[in-house]
């Protein structure tokens, strides 16, 4: 716990430093856990979050504000709770057995663990990319159109426009435009992951969650996905779980370092990766623990 309190204490320091980078907001440094340069309240914040799975205390007192836009990466050794944290953000963890969640995850100010919250509306705000791409068992066209359809868009013309727009956004259009009615399962795994990204974007989320989204991909496909993330980060808030430090370095604006279910350190990527304050972070970044 002493580790924890020192981390929270140091957040304020970081906020003060961060304010130098972007001087937009004076209130940011004042409120606990606020991130630097906040001109608007964060889409996503986590407050006093504890997660138990089958009696194990997986996440311990997580407090964090995810900066709007840009890429935030959760890093840390295997089993540190990064994927669990990601899955609590859109309540996918609920589907597992024996999960107890305490605390709050605020999406646009609303605690998604409140009983009154409509889970489907909340999830629509957050796209998900899993470790391996899982296209829906339908054609390429229907994969993209699925989300817009369930949210009420029925006109064929409009769906066609949406499908083309998001396939272009993920640079898939040229590769698949002649076979939109073929099974999505026939695409290469790299193409499938871009399709899944396009499918997620088509429901117009604010946030994109990526659970090691390139871990099953070859280097070329990985590069294409990473390029896409860098293009998308101006419009969306991206949260990635990665166990590849170099990837975190290439992509991240903000880094969250987790160890044994606690946030050890978080802040701008350069600070955490190049000048980590905590000893554990230093050891992880240097590769002594992994």
């Amino acid at each position: 716990m002493s580790q924890q309190s020192s981390t929270i204490g140091s957040e304020v320091t970081w906020s003060a430093e961060g304010a130098a980078v972007n001087t937009a907001d004076a209130n940011a440094a004042g409120s606990a856990g606020a991130y630097p340069g906040a001109s608007e309240p964060p889409h996503l914040s986590v407050r006093n979050l504890h997660v138990h799975v089958g009696g194990n205390h997986i996440l311990k007192n997580i407090n964090i504000d995810i900066p709007n836009k840009g890429i935030t990466s959760f890093i840390g050794p295997s089993g540190c709770g990064k994927t669990t944290l990601l899955k609590t953000l859109n309540r996918l963890l609920d589907r597992q057995k024996g999960v107890v969640v305490k605390g709050a995850v605020l999406v646009d100010g609303v605690n998604i663990y409140d009983k009154e919250v409509e889970v489907t509306d909340m999830r629509k705000k957050m796209g998900l990319l899993s470790q391996r791409p899982f296209p829906l068992p339908m054609s390429i066209f229907d994969n993209i159109a699925y989300g817009p359809r369930i949210h009420g868009i029925k006109k064929k013309k409009q769906l066609e426009e949406i499908v083309e727009y998001y396939l272009r956004a993920t640079h898939l259009w040229e590769e698949v435009k002649d076979r939109l009615n073929q099974s999505a399962a026939a695409l290469s795994i790299g193409q499938q992951q871009r399709l899944c990204l396009a499918r997620g974007l088509a429901v117009e989320p604010e946030i994109i969650l990526g659970d090691e989204p390139t871990s099953a991909l070859d280097p070329v496909s990985t590069q294409r996905i990473e390029e896409l993330f860098l293009q998308l980060k101006d419009k969306y808030t991206l949260i990635l779980v990665t166990h590849i430090l170099r990837q975190a370095r290439r992509l991240s604006d903000t880094i969250v370092f987790l160890y044994m279910g606690e946030i050890i350190e978080y802040g701008p990527a350069e600070d955490v990766l190049l000048h980590p304050r905590e000893k554990l972070t230093q050891e992880y970044v240097k590769g002594f623990i992994s």
């Binding site: 057995k97 489907t120 957050m126 391996r132 899982f134 068992p137 369930i150 949210h151 997620g200």
Partner: protein
């Protein structure tokens, strides 16, 4: 590699003791692999052999008696002492009962399977209990279903009818259909429902995607159930009854192929006994046609499967 060998001593003596044990060990492993393979081949041979033997005995005895008249006409006068007529009554009755019961069973099984796989918390008490119930029902012999159906009929004052046969066979088929579909749904990757939920889908919308993913398995389950439904004699013995005419309404009794086989096989007249085998050939061909058709449609329907 060569420098490695120099570093660790003579080739093949890298570690303590491995060199001397290696020769006999290699022989033992080879023997073990050979024995396993032999066992597998023997068992496969026994199974396919007995199946072929059954088929051969049916076809060799039944084919000579099989005629166009047999599959296009109902029993004429004196059919059961070897005179003219056919078993169209039983063919039609069997198709009615098996199609009707499988359709009825699907209406019950699909919601159950969707509930335990897409709605209920996985491995909850209710889900485990439901699976246990179906496992137990799976193991109940079909004569018990027949007796149950008969008791129900007596209690309700009904007589043997197509309707009662369909209901009783459906009861027998529901556990088979449910468990077979359940196994397929369990195979659907959990990430698939993660994906639909992340798009803001409801449970029902997710269930529909799971249904699409599992469609080939559902077809297999239907085929399995159809085979059981059309081949079972004990469930229809008391409930559907037997008649020489083709039923024209659900309230009339209906003949079935398994019972046609059963009754004719007990005859002292050789010609009638051979007709039992011909009926078995017809039954086998119907099952074969349904299987091939099912495979074809299953393949077409599952072309998007991931």
């Amino acid at each position: 590699m060569s420098h490695l060998r120099i570093a660790t001593g003579a080739p093949g003596t890298a570690g303590p003791g491995l060199g001397s044990a290696r020769q006999s060990n290699r022989r033992r492993r080879k023997l073990e692999a050979g024995m396993a393979k032999g066992l597998m081949l023997t068992c496969t041979g026994i199974i396919t052999g007995s199946l072929l033997l059954i088929l051969w005995s049916i076809v060799s005895k039944g084919l000579p008696s099989l005629s166009w008249e047999m599959i296009t006409s109902i029993p004429g006068g004196g059919f059961y002492i070897g005179k003219g007529g056919g078993i169209l009554n039983a063919i039609i009755g069997s198709i009615y009962i098996s199609l009707g019961s499988v359709a009825l069973a699907l209406l019950v099984s699909v919601p159950v399977v969707l509930y335990i796989n897409a709605y209920a918390q996985s491995h909850s008490v209710l889900v485990n209990f439901t699976r246990l119930v179906f496992d137990v029902l799976f193991g109940i012999p079909s004569i018990v279903y027949g007796a149950f159906g008969f008791t129900l009929m007596v209690a309700l004052g009904l007589r043997a009818s197509l309707w009662a046969g369909i209901l009783t066979v459906a009861l027998m088929v529901i556990p088979i259909l449910t468990r077979a579909m359940d196994e397929v749904f369990k195979l659907a990757p959990p990430e698939l429902s993660d994906a639909t939920y992340s798009l803001g889908a409801t449970r029902w919308e997710t269930a529909k995607v799971l249904l699409r993913q599992s469609v080939s398995g559902i077809v297999t389950a239907i085929l399995l159930s159809f085979g059981r439904a059309i081949g079972d004699a004990a469930t229809v013995l008391f409930t559907a009854g037997y008649t020489d005419s083709i039923p024209t309404s659900l309230g009339q009794p209906a003949a079935t192929l398994p019972l046609a086989i059963f009754f004719q096989l007990g005859s002292p007249i050789a010609e009638v006994r051979n007709r039992a085998y011909a009926a078995a050939v017809i039954l086998t061909v119907i099952v074969l046609i349904i299987s091939l058709a099912g495979k074809y449609f299953g393949k077409r329907l599952s072309r998007y499967k991931v």
